[in-house]
């Protein structure tokens, strides 16, 4: 390859990197395409990781080992699964509506992946920044209902139909509570000097500007809104304890009972992608998006430097973990390949970690790291819930949605609006109250 061409590519990349605008906003088609591909690939890899992690974490919660056979510690299991699913026969039931049956999983996937267009991994790391970003996310993620409903209907069978009806009712119901929580967060953005915004990047910037994550803003209010959203998002993604549409013991597998093979794996993909998407919304709106922890308390160049080492350290730690486990593998020759594979995997992770210490990369990557780390925390929560909770009954689920979350959300919205209009009252009355309370606690302990 010609060095001048290489040079020009590097220049181009650098010129882009210094532009500090999302490709969509900048109107840069090439980079937009690259970003779309990156996000798609990233989400897919994330889903694969989630698949493995969920099985392992759940297994360890339940005093068992989980996948151990395919690859060291079952690391290759997701790939094997994916292969199996792709190679399985694609069955379309004779009585099904073939066209709709065929389309439905694509609708769901489309909805689940499209939302990632506006997810801000960093101030410039998003495909585009729409000024209706959050509205777009909510709207598009709500489209997945269509896919589920059509999938259930097209199967022409009782269980999928009931599953689909349940699912759509559930998702539509919880969208309301979700929307109310989101609106209260958006109200908080309007307190900045620049005024309110719906843009995802804008929302994070407002949090930076106001020097507070919205989860801590107006102390109990932001937290309550976050809690409402956190509950609603689990219901929205049909996960335990709200996993009624796919309640195995009742409806076999819900709306995708009749699906198999590749088409089924599309639903699987969409479910995990949707989980990540709503977690991204929660992170963006309440947990400061890409902002690193304690930007106010621990500010300054030194702290920036220390925090910027985190991504590399994490990868190094993971690599170390791999090595440690490789050392604990049985010494039998039968395990030789697995041990080597694990060690190699650890080496790759460690190398990535080392690369992440390069200053230029380090600075560009840490936004993405923090964002991903926060989303990953949510993913862990999802798994944890699944291991802990029994399943709600349908009427109870509806009750929670309409009779608990919705009124709470409305009250919260009104309170937030009042407080946002009269911030001085908040500052003079409630904040001293909390401070006094904190002081009291300090004196007691």
């Amino acid at each position: 390859m010609n060095s001048s061409l290489l040079q020009s590519i590097v220049d181009y990349v650098q010129s882009y990197l210094s532009s500090n605008q999302t490709p969509g906003v900048a109107g840069n088609w090439f980079w937009a395409t690259v970003y779309v591909l990156l996000v798609f690939a990233g989400v897919s890899v994330g889903v694969i990781c989630m698949n493995w992690l969920e099985r392992k974490i759940l297994a360890h919660m339940q005093v068992r080992l989980g996948p151990m056979r395919v690859g060291p510690h079952g690391l290759l299991q997701p790939i094997a699964d994916a292969l199996k699913l792709l190679l399985k026969e694609d069955i379309i039931p004779a009585e099904a509506d073939a066209l709709v049956f065929w389309i439905a999983p694509f609708i769901v996937d489309l909805a689940a992946f499209t939302v990632f267009i506006v997810v801000p991994f960093g101030p410039a790391h998003a495909v585009t920044d729409m000024n209706i970003g959050i509205l777009f996310m909510l709207g598009v993620s709500s489209l997945s209902v269509l896919g589920i409903v059509t999938a259930g209907w097209a199967s022409n069978s009782h269980y999928p139909l009931i599953g689909a009806l349940r699912s759509s009712a559930q998702m539509v119901s919880y969208e309301v509570a979700m929307g109310l929580a989101v609106v209260s967060a958006i109200m908080m953005t309007s307190l900045s000097a620049e005024g309110g915004t719906l843009s995802m990047i804008g929302i994070v910037q407002r949090q930076q500007e106001q020097q507070v994550w919205f989860v801590f803003k107006f102390f109990p209010l932001g937290l309550v809104a976050f809690a409402i959203f956190a509950i609603a998002m689990i219901a929205e993604t049909n996960r335990a304890p709200f996993d009624l549409p796919e309640a195995e013991s009742e409806l076999t597998a819900g709306f995708h009972t009749e699906y198999s093979g590749f088409r089924w794996s599309l639903f699987f993909l969409a479910e995990y992608a949707a989980m990540m998407a709503v977690s991204s919304i929660a992170v963006t709106l309440w947990l400061g998006g890409w902002l690193r922890p304690f930007p106010n308390a621990l500010h300054g160049a030194t702290w920036d430097l220390i925090f910027s080492f985190f991504p590399g350290l994490t990868f190094l730690f993971l690599g170390g973990l791999c090595f440690f486990n490789a050392s604990r593998m049985p010494k039998h020759p039968f395990f030789k390949i697995q041990t080597m594979g694990l060690a190699a995997f650890g080496a790759v992770l460690g190398l990535i970690g080392l690369v992440l210490f390069v200053p230029g990369i380090r600075e560009r990557v840490q936004d993405i790291f923090w964002f991903t780390a926060k989303v990953a925390a949510f993913m862990y929560l999802y798994i944890w819930y699944r291991g802990t909770f029994p399943r709600y009954r349908f009427d109870q689920l509806m009750k929670v949605g309409w009779k608990v979350l919705l009124p709470t959300g409305l009250a919260l919205l009104i309170l937030t609006a009042v407080v946002a209009m009269r911030t001085e009252v908040w500052a003079e009355v409630v904040v001293p109250m909390w401070l006094g309370f904190a002081d009291l606690l300090r004196r007691i302990f």
Partner: protein, 387 residues
């Protein structure tokens, strides 16, 4: 429409006819659950009539696992039939064997020696715990809690290990013989049992920690599948289901068999007769079983393990009904002897079969999801229902 409180449900045909008259009502849905449904615990088939998600009535279709156990008995000698009873309630095989052996012993008018009695009680109570653990795991799984299943299976394994060490089998143990035991307790049996008791006590607390005060668990089980003590008695329902409805009836206390009257234990009863009460009753029963085991293992006497029983068992002409408190309820054997080596007739009164009758009554007006919970809480084993 019939009154939902009446005990006999209308058959599906009459209902369909009634539906035609009120043709404006288009929402009724007849759904078939099983026999391959994961939550019917085997090959139970349930035909549900639904109004939306509300159950208007249901009908159980059974017989998919029928093996003719009772008929087989007529062509086997008394001793040869003993292993077959293990295959009925295969999660509580020891109890089945105890009931059968005691029935035949009663017919022969012999009594097992004390040492055999003690070991029998220990094994039976261990089996009760195992059965309840299996029930808890699957029931929780039906309601959507995955984790308890693995916890209970982990601990049930310890019981099965003791069984295996004692008689070589884990599930269908064939542990008892007519007149006593075949095997003397192995060396360290008592220590194993003591260790197990010590091991499992905190584990039961662990199950309860996961479920007893869990909000969702409470919402899913409280007020679900309520049945009154009156209805229980009318339907012949026994076991934890009956006790959870507030009727203090346990054959171990009411008509003591083996040597249960030597042990000090409580009979837990519920107040509301709902699924949650049944859960609590079974949890307490596990603890009480541990209490019995503790007492029994301390007091095992020395002595023979087999009473004097003729080589060829030929009971005198007559008939006998003997019942014991199996983990799922009253397990009774009715044996008619014509004086030959083979029973003239054996009739088993299986608790699961009788308890299953209550399903329709308990599910009316509930939601589909509750049907699952109620099937789980009835703790049926299809091997025993179909025999």
């Amino acid at each position: 429409m019939t009154d939902p409180k009446t005990l006999s449900p209308p058959s599906l045909e009459t209902h369909v006819a009634a539906r035609d008259e009120t043709f404006l009502d288009t929402n009724e849905l007849v759904i078939n659950m099983g026999p391959q449904h994961p939550a019917t615990h085997g090959v139970l088939r349930v035909i549900l009539r639904l109004d939306g998600e509300k159950v208007l009535g249901l009908e159980c279709v059974i017989g998919y696992l029928h093996r003719g156990v009772e008929k087989i008995a007529e062509n086997r000698t008394y001793a040869m039939f003993n292993p077959y009873v293990d295959r009925m309630d295969y999660v509580a095989a020891v109890s089945n064997g105890l009931g059968y052996c005691e029935a035949v012993e009663k017919l022969l008018n012999v009594e097992a020696p004390p040492r055999a009695q003690y070991i029998r009680v220990i094994l039976t109570e261990l089996n009760r715990i195992a059965s309840h653990q299996l029930w808890l795991g699957t029931h929780a799984l039906d309601i959507g809690a995955i984790t308890p299943l693995f916890y209970t299976f982990r601990d049930r394994e310890e019981i099965l290990k003791i069984f295996e060490k004692y008689c070589g089998a884990r599930l269908t143990t064939h542990a008892f013989r007519i007149g006593g035991l075949q095997y003397e307790a192995y060396d360290g049996f008592e220590q194993d049992v003591k260790n197990f008791v010590k091991f499992v006590k905190p584990k039961i607390d662990e199950y309860e920690e996961l479920l007893t005060t869990n909000r969702i668990w409470l919402e899913r089980t409280k007020g679900v599948g309520v049945i009154s003590g009156r209805d229980c008695i009318a339907l012949g329902v026994t076991g934890p289901v009956l006790r959870a409805s507030g009727v203090k009836w346990d054959i171990r206390k009411a008509q003591p068999y083996a040597n249960y009257k030597n042990f000090d234990f409580e009979i837990p009863t519920g107040l509301n007769g709902d699924t949650y009460d049944r859960y609590l009753v079974r949890m307490v029963e596990m603890r009480q079983a541990l209490r019995i085991i503790e007492q029994a293992v301390e007091g095992i006497p020395e002595g023979p393990i087999m009473a004097k029983v003729p080589k060829v068992i030929k009971p005198p002409v007559g008939e006998i009904y003997h019942s014991i408190e199996a983990p799922k309820g009253e397990l009774g054997y009715f044996i008619v002897s014509d004086g030959s080596t083979q029973p003239y007739r054996v009739r088993v009164r299986p608790p699961s079969f009788v308890n299953l009758q209550a399903l329709d009554l308990m599910c009316r007006g509930q939601l589909v999801a509750d049907v699952i919970a109620v099937i789980g809480t009835l703790d049926i084993v299809l091997g025993e229902v179909d025999r």
